[in-house]
Symmetry: C2
Subunit: 196 residues, 2 copies
DNA sequence: TTGAAATACGAACGTCCGTTCTGTACGATC
DNA sequence: GATCGTACAGAACGGACGTTCGTATTTCAA
């Protein structure tokens, strides 16, 4: 099998496994079984577990950006792009892009107290960039006069993200659909009361 | 050492370890080292890892109830008791009652896709009871005319919990204090705009 | 066709896991 | 003071972990 092709196969499966079992719970043997390879074959591509974890986070970032971030830039900036982001995120979760739910939220809460896991910084970094994106979109909408000028964009980002986190908990409770409904209502309410 | 005393010592340490390493990442050997006992000594109290995990969830429930739930019933019902709950939850997190943050949110998102872990049901059950409590407090406040009659108590619970989840993410990003400030503002805003 | 490089297998290593078993202190009971 | 049961240590097990290494197979260029 060609080098890149095999590496991609491994990573795509590893990302899904990590989203379910956790980034730390990810095991080389488990990945090997899942892609029908030997452990030695996996180690030929990733010299250590830490490097596999780092590559997994990188791949998850690409997937998330492709599913949630990049599509919204085809929409006009401001409020419409902001709404596109919330829609894209709900669609991303509903489509089970990651089998375990939201890869980054799972990883962040799993690793936030484990300093010895190298991938922790990459996860936090990506999460921070996502929050900055929401904040930036809010600033744009304010500049365009679509959201109230006195709105705190950071608080706006906090509340929008919080709704998304709520869905994840409802999902964990086996009430995914109700969670979506509540989160959509909460997000919409946030946008409405933030509008001019 | 007396049976109960030793069992309590083990559980108290195991709860803290599980809140950091995860309920599944908890290991008998790790607990044994932490309490300066042998693995055999631990197994004398808990015949299997699953039973240890179950006891840990039970102990964590007691701790959470003691820190967040029970104190609020010394306050008058309705809006004041609701405010007491949000204050108690922020205090519970700020005090690092669990070293790893919120034990139950960590455990819920860790286990939500792992059906083979028996403790998963207990975690979800306790989480559900907490949400029901918030909802019930909202219903009481509505009945007393302190919150708007047309308010959806389940959505209220969703939004209040979501703010708490936001703090956990901010904590994972190393911005705990900012997270507290944002969550307090969001919670207060929710209560204000839900009031009559 | 031949040679070299890429690619993956399979075995082995030391460590840690959960679990079980035996031995041994200690404290209460009669 | 002998007896008994509790509480724990310590060793051992089979298995999974991450990692390394030697070898076989494939791939492609010369």
């Amino acid at each position: 099998m060609a080098r890149d092709s095999s590496r991609e196969t491994i990573l795509d499966r590893a990302v899904q496994i990590a989203s379910v079992q956790g980034l730390d719970g990810l095991s080389i043997g488990g990945v090997a079984t899942a892609v029908a390879m030997s452990k030695g074959g996996i180690c030929a591509h990733f010299p250590s577990k830490a490097s596999l974890q780092a590559a997994v986070v990188e791949r998850a970032t690409e997937i998330f950006r492709g599913a949630v971030v990049e599509p919204i830039f085809s929409r006009p900036p401001g409020l419409e792009r902001l709404r596109a982001l919330t829609d894209a995120w709900f669609a991303y979760l509903a489509a089970e892009t990651f089998e375990g739910g939201c890869f980054f939220t799972n990883a962040l809460l799993e690793l936030d107290n484990l300093e010895e896991v190298e991938a922790r910084g990459a996860v936090a970094g990506q999460y921070g960039r996502y929050l900055d994106l929401i904040e930036r979109l809010a600033v744009e909408a304010i500049a365009r006069g679509e959201l109230r000028a006195e709105l705190n964009p950071r608080r706006f980002a906090f509340e929008l993200l919080s709704s998304q986190l709520g869905v994840l908990v409802w999902r964990g409770l086996g009430k995914t659909e109700e969670g979506f409904a509540l989160a959509r209502a909460a997000s919409n309410d946030l946008l409405v009361r933030s509008a001019v």
